[in-house]
């Protein structure tokens, strides 16, 4: 599952015969050097925009507007403090947490239940079920915007759930829609993983008289920790990054999650590039930290469908 973490060793076959043929060996070396140069170059180009964002976020605006960015002075952390206060990052980060955490938990809960049923029982419509969920994940969100927008402004919620008294402009609508969209992918991955679990486990459980719920909750879920961890990592990333639904189904500036609050920030920051940089770095930081901390799960999640667990 974490095959991508470790650099693969060159296949034995590609090295040994080359050594036997000196002409090819020489050419191989040239290619190798070219490959190194290219990869290093591309990697540096790829890192540059991020590097530049960090660099300009650390510069004083009045200094860089006079001396330009290729200069030595004007280093400061003020931009971060200002961006945090002006854009009210505390509120927006909390909004992202309120939306992302319940949505991820709900997604994994639903997906694991459906996956369990699909993997465990052969129902006539298993394939249809899987298709229904998987396809839902791929539809362009914008093509569903009109009915969902109308729906959300027509569904009342009690005041304690939503201060707009509607589904529209509440955390609930984003939690629900994100869950509905993401369940498909997770169902697919989890059902594939569950199919690889030894069926003897369930036979034994059945002999012991374990109920279906027990088989799901006590036997299957604990065994599915690896794909659940991988999917949780991915889903936190994706839902945190979700931009469209929050943009169209939210109205109050103070309820936007971080990713879609960016757009509001730009108006305030328009004149100060360095402040925009600091804001961007702040928004990027959580996912980059998660990526480095949980890289294994990240890569595993993306390739999980690949090796069927």
């Amino acid at each position: 599952m974490s095959t991508l973490d470790t650099p693969s060793t060159p296949a034995a076959g590609s090295v040994a015969p080359a050594a036997a043929r000196p002409v090819r060996n020489n050419r191989d070396r040239v290619w190798r050097v070219a490959a190194y140069v290219l990869l290093v170059l591309v990697s540096l180009i790829w890192l540059f925009p991020l590097f530049w964002a960090v660099l300009s976020s650390l510069r004083d605006y009045t200094y860089t507007s006079v001396h330009g960015y290729i200069s030595l002075g004007g280093w400061t952390l003020r931009n971060y403090v200002n961006a945090w206060q002006q854009a009210d990052f505390t509120t927006h980060f909390l909004n992202s947490v309120y939306i992302t955490i319940p949505a991820v938990i709900l997604t994994l809960f639903f997906a694991s239940m459906v996956g369990f049923v699909i993997a465990r029982f052969s129902w006539r419509f298993n394939l249809i079920l899987l298709g229904l969920f998987t396809a839902a994940n791929l539809l362009p969100q914008q093509s569903l915007l009109i009915p969902l927008y109308r729906l959300s402004i027509n569904v009342p919620l009690p005041d304690w759930m939503s201060d707009s008294d509607l589904l529209y402009d509440s955390y609930w609508v984003l939690i629900l829609i994100n869950t509905a969209f993401q369940t498909g992918f997770c169902t697919f991955v989890l059902s594939n993983y569950m199919k690889t679990l030894p069926k003897e486990l369930y036979e034994a459980a059945q002999v012991d008289g374990a109920s279906i719920w027990k088989q799901y909750w006590k036997i299957t879920l604990p065994l599915c920790r690896p794909p659940l961890a991988a999917l949780a990592t991915l889903e936190v990333n994706w839902i945190y990054n979700e931009f469209f639904w929050a943009t169209v189904l939210m109205r109050s500036g103070d309820k936007f999650p971080v990713t879609s609050s960016l757009n509001n920030l730009r108006g305030q920051f328009f004149t100060d590039n360095n402040l925009v940089s600091a804001g961007s770095v702040l928004v990027a930081l959580p996912v980059i930290i998660i990526f480095f901390a949980l890289q294994r799960h990240f890569v595993a999640g993306l390739t999980l469908g690949a090796n069927k667990g």
Partner: protein
Amino acid sequence: MAGSSQPPLVPTDTAVQAGVGGDHRGVARRRRVRRVTRRDQIVLVLMVIVPIVMTLGLVWLPAVATVLLSFTNWNGIGSLSQIHWIGFKNYHDVATIYPPFWPAVRHNLLWLAVLFLVATPLGIFLAVLIDKGLRGSRFYQTSLFLPVVLSLALVGFIWQLQYSQDYGFLNFALQKLHLIQEPIDWYGEPGINIWAVLIATCWRHVGYIMLLYLAGLKGVDPSLREAAEVDGANEVQTFFRIVFPVMRPINVIVFVITVIESLRAFDIVWVVNKGRNGLELISALVTQNVIGEASRVGFGSALATIMLVVSLVFIVIYLATVLREEEP
């Protein structure tokens, strides 16, 4: 999902190790569930019914509603009884009297072409290089993959620091090199801005493709390559004649994902200028028609239905590929 990352349901091993693991599943399939108590039956139904209702209610019914609304003249105000069926008029209007439509179609197609002809081959090529196992491959992978974890909206902001007319790095560098005299407004100038956002999009897309193919390459049976080498094939021949065809499921999936990504591209143009002035995309037009001052539900639905139909064609291809192995 964040219009951004798409789930790659990549059955790498279907082509590579077809048949493995198929046998015990067959047995499980034949073993119909017996001795399921009534209570368990209820639990089973409950376990699937809640997610099904949610997906039908929040995804599939809205999809159907979009299609139905596209044949009406509803303006979003007034009750449903005021809706009149007007046949294909909305579609006719979209194609004839709605100036941003054809530019949007062109931009979506350009998006597809660039992702498909530039980002995807580059991603595959880098995956092949990284798969060689050169020193530092972890560094290359991480650098390329880093943009993939960022949202496309944020990518738009990060590239604004390159593209900004007065303070951007790009104008600074090009002026220093005397390649341009006057600073260019990369995000603002129609005709240029679509390329600017496409470069930023590729920056993110390449790493994604790289990772998918890297996973695919690791799944290719090494003996296939050895056999090709013994037969005297060079690396290029081995890749195009042996390795690439063997990764067919990944190829199909990457193809479909690329089409759908180009169709639902939205975030980056919305943060730049809400999809106007050279950055028209169908997704942005739909949104403008619903969220903007003029709420034209029927008209917007016609645009949305066009997206829906195109995407469904490719989703069917996708499902046919990933679900093939599920069949008995």
